[in-house]
Symmetry: C2
Subunit: 366 residues, 2 copies
């Protein structure tokens, strides 16, 4: 069997392993030790299930595991709502899944977030395993325990912090990933370099072409380093009271783009890429980042196939949407900016006029 | 100011105090130290809000606390659903409540369960304070952190374990409580005596008339002893993996009655009373409880104004509904029974024929 990489997310009694590599989907031997009983409920979507569901459940069934319930959700961020979440509850209750049934999420970030929130809430919590099938979900949502759904008034507003028992990131699933989704994942990968890992940023600049060619070894390295960076931060701050907020570089601007353009019209990673440029531009205006570093950020994101200009929603609309962000504390807008490349910080001190100018400079005006 | 009783629920960093006594609603001084910021969202219902909302928020406003959002829910178990829960999210998001906003629940168990789940889920968790206004919620749902909503296929199927910062049980609110709701609360009070506290069971037999007269001191004592018993158990077993299941005496039968009769047609406490008689009767059939002890259970519940015969749903329907209960483990029905008065146990060994006979004997046949 091909070899794979592993790391542990250290969270005391909620610690769990992440395995990264090729052909992991069908490794029932890696899943079985983490099942409480040989009963599972699988959550996937209409695009991923035809490609990979059988590859996952076939070997499990051969080992005597019962697939009690199967919820195949419609695909896309627009369906990350209560009605769709309820399809999971309906399937599990209809099959009389009990508290020892493990929920397995097979799909991208939307499937993982919804299956995770369903697992957190079903009978007040059942075990959960993540099998992320997009680069974005492999590097981002598979570490950190954030689960949830959207509300018409804001993204990810209803949810829970809930840790999986295990994450299996099979790099073979990235072969079928549409190019724009590979790029969306790379936005988050680049983020780890920018906020805390200069050697990784340089590695990305040197290996971007291999990543775009979907070289398995390059992808596995990028996923592993990204997960390690995120795991380090999450281990320090499980419920986002401090340092974890640094992971939100580009996200406050990005969420405004996603909400303002309508859920599903901008990919999360694309919105984050533009948000990262806005944050870099604002960091330059704060006197922290030299002009050349901002250009370096733009260049790397562009090479990864990402947009660097936002939709022209108008600056006021951006600010209105940003004020709804969860990172607002006691009414004050707090942003993640860059003191330098590889060194992020959180500040509530950016002058409103500078924030407006940065949004404007990156295409957000009208 | 009148004096009050206090106890602490010991859960490590999630420990919190319960204050019990008269005139606590207006004690802003007891609430203020537990607010993260002076911003709150209040959840109540159409019956309780006109009686007590101003008494609670008036003194808080006088201390500079902003009531950002107010969700006044329709009254009753039938509204313990997602649509009604969403009224809380709508109000909080509309008012841009952030992660430091404290949710205060003012009302009975339904309000507490829904406000608690809203607090657990809103932006993945905000602080929460319980102000229970029924005897049932003061002795039961205010301790233990169980929150949630119903699903058409089962009661309390969607929820979270989530602890409040503080519980204020104001015994004055029991004066306006309908007689049948006082009785419903007494069903849970009696339960603590039956499962682990013989002196308290004897105290209840001696003081039932004072409780029914709503004597403040008697009520405060009953609430305090009930909460202490529950707090002891919960401290031992926060997420219901072991001893905590003993609290469910009468609940597996009781949930079947509530669901079978249609949510809202049987009060929870009334269903639990009948379930307790069924459990006692089954314990006798198991050879554990003498006939006289079963009679003693029936007599005390009757004196408390509680029903001791269930609806004639038919034994098969009871068993079908019971198999949906969360206490089912790996497909096996586990029941809380009495080895003796004051000594509950969990068993998966009750023969089906005996279970059927106990349901039949307590009015459940057809």
């Amino acid at each position: 069997m091909p070899s794979f990489r592993s790391l542990d997310v250290e969270l005391g009694e909620r610690s769990y392993p992440i395995h990264i590599g090729p052909a992991l989907l069908s490794r029932a031997d890696l899943i079985l030790p983490h099942l409480k009983t040989r009963r599972i409920a699988v959550v996937s979507n209409e695009v991923v299930a035809p490609l990979y569901l059988e590859r996952l459940v076939g070997p499990l069934k051969a080992e005597g595991v019962s697939v009690l319930a199967q919820a195949i959700l419609p695909d896309g961020e627009v369906f990350k709502d209560w009605q769709t979440l309820n399809l999971i509850f309906d399937a599990m209750l209809g099959a009389r899944c009990d508290r020892s049934t493990t929920v397995i999420a097979l799909g991208g970030g939307v499937v993982g977030d919804m299956a995770g929130f369903a697992a957190a809430s079903y009978q007040r919590g059942v075990p959960f395993i993540q099998v992320p099938t997009t680069l974005l979900s492999q590097v981002d949502s598979s570490v950190g325990g954030k689960t949830g759904i959207n509300h018409p008034l804001g993204k990810n507003m209803i949810g829970a912090f809930y840790q999986p028992q295990l994450v299996l990131a099979d790099t073979d699933t990235l072969v079928t990933l549409p190019a724009e989704e590979l790029s969306a994942g790379l936005a988050e990968v680049i983020k780890y370099g920018l906020i805390r890992d200069i050697p990784f940023l340089e590695w990305l600049e040197a290996n971007m072409d291999s990543l775009l060619r979907r070289d398995g070894e390059a992808l596995a390295h990028a996923i592993e380093v990204s997960c390690r960076n995120k795991a380090d931060i999450v281990a320090e701050d499980e419920t986002e009271s401090g340092v974890r907020a640094l992971l939100n570089l580009g996200h406050t601007f990005g969420h405004a783009i996603e909400t303002g353009a309508g859920y599903g019209n901008w990919l999360h990673g694309h919105a984050v890429a533009v948000g990262t440029v806005m944050a870099a531009d604002l960091s330059r205006r704060m006197g922290w980042l030299p002009e050349g570093d901002v250009a370096r950020v733009r260049t790397l994101l562009s090479r990864a196939g990402l947009p660097i200009e936002g939709p022209a929603l108008g600056v006021d609309r951006y600010l209105e949407l940003m004020s709804l962000d969860k990172k607002v504390s006691a009414g004050k807008l707090r942003l993640v900016l860059l003191k330098a490349l590889g060194e992020a910080c959180i500040t509530g001190e950016a002058p409103p006029a500078m924030i407006r100018a940065a949004i404007e400079a990156c295409g957000g005006g009208n």
